[in-house]
């Protein structure tokens, strides 16, 4: 077993790597544009990280337990559409006010849970590859939102939106709600992952599900729970998303799944499962969002090449934390 001879070094580089990459990006940003470190910009970046971030925290659990979910982006779009539809429909009855917002939120959370449950059941009870199930449901939700919106955009009633807007733009002590909720989700996620039986079980299952089964871990249930939890978090993210622009269309949440998965892996979680860390995912999300922000704040390259720079930085960030043996 010479493989783990390097173990100590691996851990430390794995830990420092993503942080280092993030620090380098922040320095680069600050050098390129003096407004970069303004609270205003920082706040923007954090708030817009929140959607992917909240979802990526859930994805960390799914991946740690050896799963995958490609459907989160279109699930978010679908939930947003559903939420808007329900709120608009309930408006004549409930009027503008807290109750209707609560109704919308409840719908979003419920829909998220149900969607996660469906994915999870197909994966754990029928034993179909997560990749296939969620690729399928990705197509299904994306279609459904297009259909709900009749091909166009579903928009929240204007007065309702004005009332609901503070959920994205408002906050306390100058910190906006998405940032607060994101932070809460991260803290809860970190505790769940590191300090609860659930987190342990996820890692055990992802590491070797046979061993987990022989250790009397309820493998299928834990796996199912990871998908449900991810669904719930997609619901939470949607609750923050809808007040931002008040609309949902088939373009909502496009490619969020790839971004979320990339954030998880850039953060040091192992794609094949068995090892995950929530704080790493947060760093991953921040790295991904910052790249876009920095590219917008400067124009030293053709905007056509933004994607290339993003791609290169993602690879570089992971090279920084590489300590794993080659040949994988």
């Amino acid at each position: 077993m010479n493989t783990s001879a390097k173990a100590p070094r691996k851990v430390s580089m794995g830990v420092i790597g993503p942080i280092l990459a993030l620090i380098l990006l922040v320095i680069a940003g600050a050098l390129m544009n003096s407004n970069f470190l303004d609270w205003n910009n920082i706040s923007n970046v954090l708030a817009r990280s929140a959607f992917i971030g909240i979802i990526a925290v859930g994805m960390t659990f799914v991946i740690t337990a050896g799963g995958l979910d490609l459907s989160v982006g279109s699930m978010a779009a679908f939930i947003a559409g559903l939420m808007i539809l329900v709120m608009n429909t309930a408006l004549p009855v409930l009027g503008v006010g807290i109750p209707i917002v609560l109704l919308g939120m409840a719908v979003a959370l419920l829909a998220g849970i149900v969607a996660g449950l469906l994915n999870g059941i197909l994966i754990t009870r029928l034993g179909i590859e997560a990749f296939i199930v969620t690729l399928g449901s990705m197509g299904i939700y994306r279609s459904l939102v297009t259909w709900l919106a009749d091909g166009g955009t579903l928009s929240l009633d204007f007065t309702l939106r004005t009332f609901y807007q503070p959920v994205y733009y408002g906050g306390i002590f100058g910190v906006s709600w998405p940032i607060i909720v994101f932070a809460l989700v991260v803290v809860v996620g970190e505790v769940l992952m590191r300090a609860t039986a659930f987190g342990r079980h996820c890692a055990a299952i992802g590491s070797n599900d046979q061993v987990a089964r022989y250790s009397a871990v309820r493998v299928a249930r834990v796996r199912l729970l990871t998908y449900v939890m991810l669904g719930l978090l997609v619901g939470v993210a949607t609750i923050m998303y809808v007040p931002r622009l008040g609309s949902a269309s088939s373009a909502t949440g496009l490619l969020w799944e790839l971004e979320a998965i990339a954030a998880v892996i850039v953060g040091g979680t192992v794609l094949k499962g068995g090892f995950g860390r929530v704080w790493g995912t947060v760093i991953g999300v921040l790295i991904l969002t910052l790249i876009g922000n920095i590219l917008n704040l400067t124009d030293f390259v053709s905007p056509y090449l933004n994607g290339a720079i993003q791609g290169a930085i993602i690879i570089l960030a992971v090279i920084l934390q590489r300590g794993r043996k080659p040949g994988l």
Partner: protein, 511 residues
């Protein structure tokens, strides 16, 4: 201390090896000679496997030299040692589970005709090798469907295929029955007579006496004795290894049997076992013997909810239905797997995480109590004498220490009924003694214990009563003085009389 006259074909000279700050081999020497069988013995974690890996290029030494035909060599990749005619059979299985037997045997050494594989030739050659080992598995079966002993035979066939001048085997017989072991030893003798140098290790000292020409004994990473094997008898070997007197291996059978803990009637595991019936009392140790493939593992996996099984099961007198392992555990029934590597331990995880996995609820009250976990590990390390660094992945523990950890893990879940499948595989003799005492102590505490073992001595020495299984059925039951090797073998092979006549036996045949 080399006695042999020829120059060593492969030798280690003053080799040390460290993992991080910990040195596990301290300036060891060993020399292999063509046409001789060299046995390497020592306690769990003494450094045997590490030494073997260094000799075959799987690991570099931290200091010292590897000498091949008298000249220093450095192997930079796996292929090099192999090209020099050196083969290693690993302590843990080294087979690709999704591939077939033939694909594994020829992996990396495929026969070709032009660009394409010569499958017919490989199949034929595989059959021939397996036949030499008297193993009747089909070369086309997938490894994951094989029993452990068949897997081991495939490993051996794989090594035999390579044109080896030097064959190094790390506990090849740990998962083999006595008959299979004899076949293997026969092959080893044939190879030796062909001039092959053989190095092997085993915790079964009778095998060592039977086959070794030379002997090296290690303790705590150092060689403590080296010389001709005939100079040492089994007893002396054990003492030299452990560093203390080993008096009686098995504790006295002081069982005070309590109430019925487990009753099983007409139980079957489709495809593997049928008509299983027996009873078990608190405080009792029930042995289960049988040939490999007789369905022992499947029967008890079925009872523990690990595979589908049907029949009447009563725990403490109450009928129960167990469909999942956690249900079994909730009823106080725990099963310890025979397969520590793929079913028992998370090799990439630390000791603590493995230890508490099965009993995590006891350490968690919303949040995990890491201090308590740590304390549990400290206790387990002491109780079970687990040696090696506490901070490594379990995969880096020596095989025997992994087995001890597995045992500690299952005990943590505090089962009332404990099924232990092959508990002492790869355990050194000193620790074995400790474990037997431990198992007896558990019984004395009022637990009901089932020990499945392929080592007949173990069953006889440890159990109060023995069930013998054959072809998925209970062939008979033996107790007290009836428990002899001869009687067990007869039942297991289905030869001779030895008709079972106990009360339990009659109960189970109804229905």
């Amino acid at each position: 201390m080399g006695i042999a006259v020829s120059t060593p074909i492969l030798a280690l000279s003053q080799v040390s090896r460290s993992f991080g700050p910990i040195e596990v081999l301290h300036s060891v020497d060993i020399a292999l000679h063509p046409g001789r069988v060299h046995a390497l013995i020592g306690e769990n974690g003494a450094g045997k496997s590490t030494m073997m890996k260094i000799m075959t290029g799987y690991q570099p030494p931290s200091a010292g030299r590897v000498l091949l035909d008298g000249a220093p060599v450095t192997f930079t990749d796996m292929g090099q040692a192999e090209a020099q005619g050196i083969s290693l059979i690993h302590q843990e299985f080294n087979l690709a589970e999704q591939l077939t037997v033939e694909q594994n045997i020829f992996l990396g050494a495929e026969l070709r005709r032009g660009w394409l594989l010569d499958k017919a030739a490989m199949r034929a050659k595989s059959r021939e090798l397996l036949a030499r080992l008297r193993c009747d598995v089909d070369p086309l079966s997938v490894i994951s469907t094989l029993s452990n002993s068949d897997k081991q035979m495939v490993e051996i066939a794989k090594a035999l295929l390579r044109d080896t001048r030097i064959l190094i085997m790390d506990e090849p017989t740990a998962v083999l029955t006595r008959t299979e072991t004899e076949v293997l030893l026969e092959q080893v003798r044939a190879l030796r007579d062909h001039g092959t140098a053989v190095l092997f290790t085993s915790h079964k000292l009778d095998e060592v006496s039977a086959i070794a020409d030379d002997l090296t004994i290690m303790r705590d990473g150092a060689v403590v004795w080296s010389g001709p094997a005939r100079d040492m008898d089994e007893h002396q070997m054990a003492e030299a290894m452990v560093g203390r007197e080993i008096s009686t291996l098995y504790p006295p059978k002081t069982a005070t049997q309590g109430a019925l803990a487990l009753e099983v009637e007409g139980f079957r595991v489709p495809g593997f076992a049928q008509d299983i019936g027996f009873t078990l009392r608190k405080g009792e140790i029930l042995g289960v013997a049988g040939l490999m493939g007789s369905g022992r593992t499947e029967t008890f996996e079925g009872l523990a909810g690990l595979r589908p099984g049907h029949g009447v099961v009563r725990i403490d007198g109450a009928p129960v239905t167990i469909r999942h392992p956690w249900e079994a555990l909730a009823m106080g029934l725990a099963y310890l797997t025979e397969d520590r590597k793929t079913r028992g331990l998370l090799l990439q995880k630390g000791l603590g995480e493995n230890l508490t996995l099965q009993a995590l609820h006891r350490f968690s009250n919303w949040l995990l109590d890491k201090r308590a976990e740590d304390a549990a590990l400290t206790r387990a390390v002491a109780d079970f004498d687990i040696r090696g660094s506490r901070d490594v992945d379990v995969g880096s523990l020596s095989g025997g220490n992994q087995q001890k950890l597995l045992f500690a893990k299952i005990m943590l879940s505090d089962p009332g009924i404990l099924v232990i499948d092959e508990p002492t595989r790869g355990i050194d003799i000193g620790t074995k003694q400790q474990m037997y005492q431990f198992i007896r102590k558990l019984a004395a505490e009022g637990r009901a214990i089932i020990v499945i073992s392929s080592e007949m001595q173990e069953v006889i020495g440890l159990a109060d009563r023995v069930l013998v299984m054959r072809q998925g059925r209970i062939a008979g039951e033996l107790a007290g003085p009836e428990m002899t090797e001869d009687a067990i073998v007869r039942l297991a092979m289905g030869v001779g009389a030895a008709a079972p006549a106990t009360g339990n036996r009659q109960k189970e045949t109804s229905e």
